[in-house]
C-alpha cells in the first residue's frame, strides 16, 4: 500500500509492468519488490525445497526469497532478486519453482513430508539400488526442488568486460563511502566510487536522521553533487564489487541494461577489473533475522527492509505491523512506522531492560515465538514470562542485530574476529593488502562514527600513496551507542528458519551436530546452509551460533565458513564476455583464403589458422577422390599449396649462426649463404620440440620456419634462450609469419611452371635441391626456396603478403594448365606419409631424436640445447618406441590412426602393447594404405608382421613393419 511521504520515487512517472501475467503499476524509482508490495502483493516466491510460500525478506542485494525470472526466450534471466530489479515500462517478471501457479503449487506437498526431508535426507535415503540415483532419484529431485530455469537458448544479449584504474577505490556509497570518497578526491587523487544501488547514499536513503542539521538524505545528495563535479572522481552506480584479488585487483559487476532504459549499443552487464592502488571498503552491514517457528511467512521481513520500504519507497508493508528485535533498530523502525502513519500493533524487545516512549503496545524481555497465516502473515505469538500473547499483524519487522559486510576482506584467505560487544564478526586489519575497512563493515554503527571512519580510511589510503592531507571537518550526526543482546533462535517447537533460500532450519543444524558434523564447514555441506545463490548472507552467523550452542563451544571457536568471491552472483556471460566465438579463438586467415573458399574447399582448423582440406572438382563425390587426384597431380605434374601458416622467424646479427647452432641439434653456422637446411630442435629435457627448415639469406641473416602449431612456442623459446640462457649473443629476431605469403609448388613440372612465371628463368644446376635466394615475379621481389615436403622436385615461393592472393590465383591457373592443380591438407598429408616425413602427430612431445631415427642429426662437435638431457640412459634404450612404416597385409586392407600394435597372435591387452599408429593415408601411387607408427625397438623389426587393433572403431588387421620412407628412398625425385 502506497503512503504519503517524500521517498525516492517519482510519482509523476507511473510505470506499468507484469508479474505472472497480471499488470501492475508502480513509479519510477521502484524496485520490483517495492512496487509489488505497493500493490499489496506479498507472496512472491516458493521456497527451494519445501515450496513454502515466501515474500520479500530484505530490501537489498542479499535477498534470499523473492527471486523471479525476468524476460523471455534467449534473454530470459532466472533468479533475479526482486529487491534489486528496478521496474521499467513493459517489464515482465514471473515467479519460479511452482506449478501450476504461485498461489496453488502442488509441490507444496513436500512441506507435509518435512519431518522426513531434513538434513542429510538425500544421503541417507537414495542409497540403493545404486543405478536408481542417476535414472530415477536425481531427475525427480531436480524437478521438485529448484530455482529458476535457463532458457536453453544461446545468449543473444550483449555482455562486456572492461578495465579501470584508480588511486583509491571506494566500495560502497553510504555515509562512510561518501566521506571517504570526498576526502580522497579533495586531495586530488583519482577516485572510483562503486555502489551496487542505483542511487548513492546507502542506509541514509532509508533512515530518518539528520546530518549537519539537514535530512541525511539531503546531505548525501549534496555530497554526491560535489563528487560529480570533480574531474578526478568516477562514480559507478549499479556496480557490485564482487571480489578482491592479488595486487589491488578488484572484480566488479555493473548492471548496465537491466533497468530497461539502455541505448542499443550498451550491454546488459559489464564485468570490470579495477586496478586500485588503495581501496576503502565501506560496504555497510546487513541486518540479520531471528529464528523462530514459522519465521518465513510472507509479511515477515527485516526491520531495515521495512524502514526502506516506508522511507525510500513510501510503501507500507502492512496495515498492522509488529516489530521485534534485540537492539535499538527495532525501536527506530517502530518510530519511522508511526511517523509514516502506519499502525504498529506491538513492539517486542528481547532485552528485559529495554524501555520506550513510543505510543505502542510494548513487550520488554519477550520473544516472538510463532506466526499464523497461510500465504500471508495474520498474527504473531509473543512469549513472555506470563505466557503467550497473540497479536494481529500482517507484517512483522524483525532485527536480530547487524553483521558487518566484511566479505571482501576475507577473499584472500583472511578470517574475521568475533566482537562480543556487537555480537558480530569484524574484519581484521590488513587481510587484503591496500584495503581498509571502515564504518559499518568495520563494526562501527553510528552515523557520526561512520563519517569519521570514512574520512580516516581515506587519509590512511592517501598516506599509503604518499599524499598528505588533513582530517576534514566532520559533519554533525547521530552518535548513539549500539546496544544489543544476542538472540539467534527463539526456543520452541516446529521449524525455525535460518537459511531461507535453501530451507535450512535450526533443527537441521542441530541434527548435523548430533551426527557429529561439528565443523562449521561440515555442517554447511551436510545441511546446505549458506550454499544457495545468496551464499547465506542472512543466515551464516545465525547458523554457526546455533551450531556453537549445540556443540557447547563459543562462536569464536566454531569459526566461520570461508568467504569466497564473487560477493554477488555473476553471470558466466559477463565474466566470459568477449571470450565467446571468435573472442575465444580468433581466426587467422591466409591470403588465399577467399579464393580457396570460393573454390569450394572445406576448411579445417590448424591452431587458429584455417586451411583447405581438399579442392573438390565436379564429378567427385567423396573427399578421397579429390585427395587421390591432388596427390597424383603432385606426383605426375605439379601441385600448388598455401604453406604460409608455417611460422617464419627472421634472424639477424653476427651471432645468428651461433644462436642456431645452440637451438638446433645440427650445425647451421657452416651453412652456405643461399642454402637451406632441415633442423631439429629439442626441449631442455632432450625431447623433440619442433622441426623445420632454415635458410641463410646472407652471412648474418637467416629465416627460420617452424611448424604451424609450434610457431609461438618456438618464438618464446628463442626469447628465453637469448635473454636467459645464452645472453651474450649479438643477434635479433622477429616473427614474420604474417609478412610473407608462401606457396609450395611441387611436382615434376614445378620448374616448368616457375619458369613461366619468374622474371628470370632458373635451372637445376644453379638452383639445386636446398638452394634459396631472391627472385623476381612480375617485378615483385620474392624469395625462392628449393625445399620439398612431398619428395618431388619442389619449391616454395614467398612474396610479401599483399601479393599473396594474386600469386595464388596465378599459380593455380598455371598448375591447372600443366595438368595439375591446387592441393589441400589431405593430399599434403598423404604426400608426406609416403615419404616418411614427420609432423606433430609423430613429434608429440614424448619423442627423442633417437625415437624418430634422427639420432644422426645430433651433432657431436658442439653443445646444443637439450643435448645433455638427451643423453640420459633411459632415452637411448633400444626398447623405446621407434618410428616405423606400416603396410596392411591382412584381410582388412586398412590402417587407422590411434590403433595399437601387438605381436602377431598376442591378445590385445595393455600388457601386450607394442606401440601405436600415429599417421595414416591412402597412397594412390602404391594403391595401399600406409601408416607411420611407433613400435618398441621398431628399427630392428622391419619385415616383421604385427597385429593392429583399433578398439575404438572396431578395426583389426595384420601389418608389415617397414622403413618409414615408402617412396623414392634415395630422394632422387627431389634432386631432379
Amino acid at each position: 500500500m502506497r503512503i504519503a511521504g517524500k521517498g525516492l520515487i517519482n510519482r509523476k512517472k507511473p510505470v506499468s509492468f507484469t508479474f505472472d501475467g497480471t499488470v501492475y503499476s508502480g513509479f519510477e524509482g521502484d524496485t520490483l519488490a517495492s512496487a509489488l508490495l505497493a500493490n499489496g502483493v506479498k507472496l512472491m516466491a516458493r521456497s527451494f525445497k519445501y515450496h513454502r510460500p515466501r515474500g520479500v525478506l530484505t530490501a537489498g542485494s542479499e535477498e534470499p526469497n523473492a527471486l523471479v525470472t525476468i524476460g523471455n526466450g534467449a534473454s530470459q534471466d532466472p533468479n533475479v532478486r526482486a529487491t534489486v530489479q528496478e521496474i521499467y515500462e513493459g517489464l515482465e517478471a514471473r515467479s519460479q519453482n511452482r506449478w501450476p501457479s504461485l498461489a496453488h503449487d502442488v509441490m507444496a506437498v513436500n512441506d507435509l513430508g518435512a519431518p522426513f526431508l531434513g538434513a542429510g535426507f538425500y544421503y541417507k535415503t537414495f542409497m540403493w539400488p545404486k543405478a536408481f540415483w542417476e535414472k530415477l532419484y536425481e531427475p525427480v529431485i531436480r524437478r521438485a526442488a529448484g530455482l529458476g530455469a535457463l532458457s536453453g537458448a544461446a545468449v543473444t544479449d550483449k555482455y562486456e568486460r572492461a578495465y579501470a584504474h584508480c588511486d583509491v577505490l571506494v566500495i560502497g556509497a553510504g555515509p562512510t563511502g561518501l566521506m571517504a570518497a570526498l576526502t580522497a578526491a579533495e586531495a586530488g587523487v583519482d577516485v572510483i566510487l562503486a555502489e551496487e544501488d542505483s542511487v548513492l547514499g546507502g542506509r541514509l536513503l532509508s533512515e530518518s536522521g539528520e546530518i549537519d542539521g539537514v535530512p541525511a538524505r539531503d546531505w548525501a545528495e549534496a555530497t554526491v553533487a560535489r563528487l560529480q563535479g570533480m574531474a578526478n572522481v568516477r562514480i559507478m552506480t549499479r556496480t557490485s564489487v564482487t571480489g578482491a584479488y592479488d595486487g589491488g585487483t578488484y572484480g566488479a559487476l555493473e548492471r548496465v541494461g537491466h533497468h530497461g532504459v539502455v541505448a542499443a549499443d550498451l550491454p546488459k552487464e559489464c564485468f570490470w577489473r579495477i586496478a586500485a592502488k588503495r581501496a576503502v571498503l565501506a560496504a555497510g552491514a546487513l541486518e540479520r533475522p531471528v529464528a523462530f517457528q514459522n519465521n518465513d511467512r510472507p509479511g515477515i521481513m527485516l526491520a531495515s527492509a521495512v524502514r526502506s520500504y516506508v522511507n525510500r519507497w513510501n510503501v507500507a508493508p502492512g496495515k498492522a505491523v509488529a516489530v521485534f528485535g534485540n537492539n535499538d533498530s527495532a525501536h527506530d523502525t517502530a518510530a519511522d512506522l508511526l511517523a509514516a502513519g502506519v499502525h504498529v500493533s506491538a513492539l517486542i524487545d528481547s532485552r528485559p531492560d529495554a524501555t520506550t516512549d513510543l505510543p505502542v503496545p510494548f513487550y520488554a524481555g519477550a520473544h516472538v515465538c510463532g506466526s499464523e497465516g497461510r500465504k500471508a502473515l495474520e498474527a504473531v505469538s509473543i512469549s513472555r514470562a506470563s505466557g503467550i500473547d497473540k497479536v494481529q499483524a500482517d507484517c512483522l519487522a524483525m532485527s536480530g542485530g547487524w553483521n558487518p559486510t566484511l566479505h571482501l576482506t576475507c577473499h584472500m584467505s583472511g578470517r574475521p574476529d568475533w566482537d562480543e560487544a556487537i555480537a558480530a564478526f569484524v574484519p581484521r586489519a590488513g587481510m587484503v593488502p591496500g584495503m581498509i575497512a571502515a564504518g559499518a563493515c568495520n563494526g562501527v554503527f553510528s552515523t557520526a562514527a561512520c563519517l569519521g571512519e570514512g574520512a580516516g580510511a581515506a587519509l590512511a589510503a592517501l598516506d599509503g600513496l604518499g599524499v598528505e592531507a588533513e582530517m576534514p571537518a566532520l559533519p554533525a550526526a547521530e552518535a548513539r551507542d549500539y546496544r544489543i543482546s544476542p538472540l539467534w533462535a527463539v526456543p520452541g517447537k516446529g521449524r525455525a528458519w535460518l537459511d531461507f533460500q535453501n530451507d535450512v532450519s535450526v533443527k537441521d543444524v542441530k541434527q548435523a551436530a548430533v551426527e557429529n558434523f561439528r565443523s562449521v564447514e561440515h555442517m554447511k555441506r551436510y545441511t546446505t546452509q549458506g550454499m544457495a545463490t545468496d551464499q547465506g548472507k542472512n543466515s551464516n552467523v545465525g547458523a554457526l551460533a546455533v551450531l556453537a550452542d549445540a556443540t557447547g563451544r563459543g562462536i569464536p571457536e566454531t569459526g566461520t565458513t570461508t568467504y569466497r568471491p564473487p560477493f554477488q552472483p555473476v553471470a558466466i556471460a559477463a565474466m566470459a564476455a568477449g571470450s565467446e566465438d571468435k573472442g575465444f579463438a580468433p581466426e587467422r586467415l591466409t591470403t588465399s583464403h577467399e579464393l580457396t573458399v570460393k573454390a569450394g574447399a572445406p576448411m579445417i582448423e590448424a591452431g587458429l589458422w584455417y586451411r583447405p582440406s581438399y579442392f573438390p572438382r565436379s564429378g567427385e563425390t567423396t573427399w578421397r577422390q579429390s585427395c587421390d587426384r591432388e596427390v597424383m597431380h603432385v606426383r605426375q605434374a605439379v601441385g600448388v599449396a598455401d604453406v604460409s601458416t608455417l611460422g617464419k622467424i627472421d634472424i639477424k646479427g653476427p651471432d645468428a649462426g651461433a644462436l642456431l647452432d645452440f637451438l638446433y641439434t645440427n650445425m647451421f653456422s657452416t651453412l652456405k649463404v643461399g642454402r637451406v637446411r632441415y633442423g631439429l630442435m629439442l626441449r631442455e629435457d632432450g625431447h623433440v620440440m619442433d622441426d623445420g627448415t632454415t635458410a641463410r639469406l646472407a652471412e648474418d641473416h637467416f629465416v627460420m620456419t617452424t611448424t604451424t602449431a609450434a610457431a609461438g612456442q618456438v618464438m618464446s623459446h628463442m626469447e628465453l634462450i637469448t635473454q636467459g640462457v645464452k645472453r651474450k649473443l649479438d643477434v635479433r629476431f622477429t616473427s614474420v609469419t604474417e609478412h610473407w605469403a608462401q606457396f609450395a609448388v611441387a611436382g615434376p613440372k614445378s620448374r616448368e611452371l616457375l619458369n613461366g612465371l619468374l622474371d628470370a628463368p632458373i635451372d637445376g644446376e644453379s638452383w639445386p635441391f636446398m638452394a634459396c635466394g631472391d627472385v623476381s615475379v612480375g617485378g615483385v621481389k620474392a624469395r625462392l626456396f628449393r625445399i620439398s615436403f612431398s619428395g618431388e622436385q619442389a619449391y616454395e615461393l614467398a612474396v610479401p603478403s599483399r601479393y599473396g592472393e594474386a600469386l595464388f590465383a596465378e599459380l593455380r591457373k598455371r598448375a591447372e594448365g600443366l595438368g595439375g592443380g591446387v592441393y589441400g591438407m589431405e593430399a599434403l598429408n598423404v604426400l608426406r606419409i609416403e615419404k616418411g616425413f614427420i609432423t606433430h602427430g609423430e613429434i608429440d612431445g614424448r619423442m627423442t631424436a633417437f625415437d624418430i631415427g634422427m639420432q644422426g642429426m645430433m651433432s657431436k662437435k658442439k653443445d646444443f640445447y637439450g643435448k645433455g638431457a638427451a643423453a640420459r640412459p633411459g632415452l637411448l634404450d633400444d626398447e623405446r618406441p621407434q618410428l616405423v612404416g606400416l603396410k596392411p597385409v591382412g584381410v582388412v586392407k586398412q590402417i587407422t590412426a590411434g590403433a595399437h600394435l601387438y605381436k602377431d597372435g598376442a591378445e590385445a591387452v595393455r600388457e601386450n602393447d607394442q606401440g601405436y599408429v600415429t599417421s595414416v593415408g591412402f597412397s594412390p601411387e602404391m594403391g595401399s594404405f600406409l601408416g607411420l607408427a611407433f613400435l618398441k625397438g621398431g628399427r630392428a623389426r622391419h619385415g616383421e608382421t604385427v597385429r593392429m587393433v583399433d578398439a575404438m572403431r572396431g578395426v583389426e588387421t595384420t601389418c608389415e613393419v617397414c622403413h618409414p620412407v615408402f617412396l623414392d628412398p634415395e630422394g632422387e625425385r627431389a634432386r631432379d
Partner: protein, 90 residues
C-alpha cells in the same frame, strides 16, 4: 595479480605466462652429471615463502622476467629481466 614489468610498468596478470622456477636459466654444461641434469630438470623446492620464478611477458614486450613471489601471500617482492638474473649460466 599484477606484475611490474621493468620495461612496460605494472601490467595485468593476463599479459604474462608462467614457466616455472627461475632455475631453468641455470642451464648445465654439456659435461654435467646425471644428478645435475636431474636437479635442473626435475627437482624443485616447494617453499612456503619467497620463490623465484620465470614469467614471460608475451602480450607485452616479450621479456622473460624473474619474479620473486611469496607463495603464502602472493606478494610480489621483486621483478627483474631474466637477462640480469643471477641464475643464468652464460
Amino acid at each position: 595479480m599484477r606484475i611490474a614489468c621493468p620495461l612496460c610498468g605494472e601490467r595485468d596478470l593476463r599479459e604474462f605466462t608462467y614457466k616455472g622456477a627461475a632455475l631453468a636459466l641455470a642451464y648445465p654444461s654439456e659435461a654435467a652429471s646425471a644428478q645435475e641434469w636431474d636437479d635442473y630438470l626435475h627437482n624443485r623446492d616447494n617453499p612456503a615463502g619467497p620463490t623465484r620464478e620465470l614469467w614471460y611477458h608475451g602480450s607485452g614486450c616479450t621479456s622473460w622476467l624473474v619474479v620473486t613471489r611469496n607463495t603464502v601471500t602472493h606478494e610480489i617482492l621483486a621483478v627483474e629481466l631474466a637477462e640480469n638474473a643471477e641464475e643464468a649460466s652464460a
